[in-house]
Amino acid sequence: MKLKTNKNIQLRIGFFLLGTILLLMIGFSLSRPLVIDIDMAHRLEPSSVKYLLGTDELGRDLLSCVLYGAGISLGIGFVVVVISFLIGGLLGLVSGYSGGAVDTMIMRLVDILLAFPGILLAIALAAFFHRGLLNLILVLTVTGWVEYARLVRGEVLKYKQKEFILAAKTYNASFFRIIIHHLLPLVLPLLMVQASLGISGVILAESSLNFLGIGLDPQIPTLGQLIDAGRDHMFDKPGLIVVPGVVLFFIIIAFNFIGEGLRKKFTKKI
């Protein structure tokens, strides 16, 4: 069997999966009201017309909760990636282009934040912060921008000594003009790849924190919280874990495929 190599299969699968997830989310949300209120009278009900996927331990409609949780994950993922992209991109450009003391300072900060393995820094911050949406976004951004800064700096160092930068300097282009007009377009593809791979990283970290109970208030249905709560009913109602887990899996794999596909696309051109 020979697969065609000129088509970017990963990118297509990624967009197909993401599109399907979004369509399903929008379709279900529009067709029936989202009920995520706690209703102890209807705990752990099986599937019915009213509760398509049944209810959870707190009597909440599982389908509504999963839709709500997926929305939260996508929303937080998007917001955190945009902020990290902007902060990390800018600091990376400044650090790489200016060099010297500024570069050293930014890079030491990067070193410090990267000194914590995996999501340990996020766990450490979340453990000491109050639960809440803003704090969760803050925690994920503090740990999230670093990778962008490092990548962008590395790229900038490659182009810094090139003739076109010298040319820009000779006609007296300002510092910001050089980094925004001359360097940014060159590092943008790399930033895009990192952003789409980064979304799944952020969503994974967000749901891990919620799984551990140190993200949002546990009353708010998130995919991580649903999986955590579902562990009490693995025997009698495995769907409480499987449904949010599968949704989370597809969200993450969709963004991974998009990221890999973009990487292939851009590295081919460069």
Binding site: P117, I123, L212, I214, M234, P244, N256
Partner: protein, 312 residues
């Protein structure tokens, strides 16, 4: 070379100091009173005073910081609010279980990832389907969160099939599910690294030369390719060992595995701040020292690095 090692060592020292200071100041970064966060609103004044004293929050901040560093230096890492014992004692009690789990997962990941990684790299050109299916499987492995995979494995192998125990850490059969959970994403990741590393080496001229000499593909792989391909793989394995300590946090929580990861989570929920700080500092130190050793190991595994550093 000596200069490089010295420089790298200074960076390590710098990171050890700043990282531990950062963890110290976390308590003080919290908006609001940390004592009220621990006890909840409406705590009695006596309780507030008691916890303040236990946390040393009644002393000036410089004094607190000096005490914190002193605790790190004498390796006690402070005193737990919950058990009243030195944090390091708890860490020492729980650490063997964590190491046991992390090493089992690492071994499992190596066994799982080597054959498909090498296979995909060697056959990738002629059998696109092999390469594609290995890549696909590793994408799946990377996308399954371990806090979903763990319960899923419990549902299938413990509850439905009844083959393995649900949780605990008493015997050999208890380690299988946690190790698989922990190894899954790592083997997916390692498979990719191995595949890329081997296929990069395959394109180098020395492989062509070896083929021209008439060596078999197996000889080329074993005598020439493997050593070169192992360099990036070794780096990843070294760093992953440190990252595994973080991975155990969630895995241990799922399987009630008595290690420092589940101890960390329990301590967070008990608001046992000295314990939380101690474990975080400990894991980070282990990770930093491991990455320092990984950097140095280049000199032993790859003589070229020695020359590169000398020529700079």
């Amino acid at each position: 070379m000596r200069n490089y090692i010295l420089k790298r060592f200074l960076l390590l020292l710098f990171l050890l100091v700043t990282v531990s200071s950062l963890v110290f100041f976390l308590v003080h970064l919290v908006p609001g009173d940390p004592v009220l966060t621990i006890l909840g609103e409406g705590a009695s004044i006596e309780d507030i005073e008691r916890v303040k004293q236990e946390l040393n929050l009644d002393k000036p901040i410089i004094q607190q910081y000096l005490d914190f560093t002193k605790n790190l230096a004498d390796l006690s890492f402070g005193k737990s609010l919950f058990t009243n014992r030195a944090v390091s004692r708890s860490i020492l009690i729980y650490l063997p279980n964590t190491l046991y789990l992390a090493l089992a997962a690492m071994l499992l990941a190596l066994v799982i990832s080597f054959p498909p990684g090498v296979w995909a790299a060697l056959k990738g050109d002629t059998h696109r389907a092999v390469d594609a299916s290995v890549t696909f499987l590793s994408s799946v492995g990377l996308a399954i969160p371990n806090f979903f995979l763990g319960p899923l494995l419990i549902i299938i192998f413990s509850l439905e099939l009844g083959w393995l125990p649900v949780s605990g850490s008493e015997g050999v059969e208890y380690i299988i599910l946690p190790a698989v959970t922990l190894a899954a994403s790592m083997s997916a990741f390692l498979t990719r690294i191995i595949r890329n590393s081997v296929s990069m080496e395959l394109q180098k001229p020395y492989v062509l030369l070896a083929r021209a000499k008439g060596l078999t593909e197996f000889q080329i792989f074993r005598k020439h390719l493997l050593k070169n391909a192992m360099i990036p793989i070794m780096t990843v394995i070294g760093l992953q060992l440190g990252a595994l300590l973080t991975g155990t946090i969630i895995t241990e929580t799922i399987f009630s595995w008595q290690g420092i990861g589940s101890l960390l989570v329990t301590s967070i929920h008990r608001r046992d701040y000295p314990m939380v700080q101690g474990i975080i500092v400990f894991i980070t130190f282990v990770y930093l020292i491991l990455s320092f050793l990984v950097d140095l190991s280049y000199f032993f595994f790859d003589p070229r690095t020695r020359h590169e550093i000398k020529n700079q």
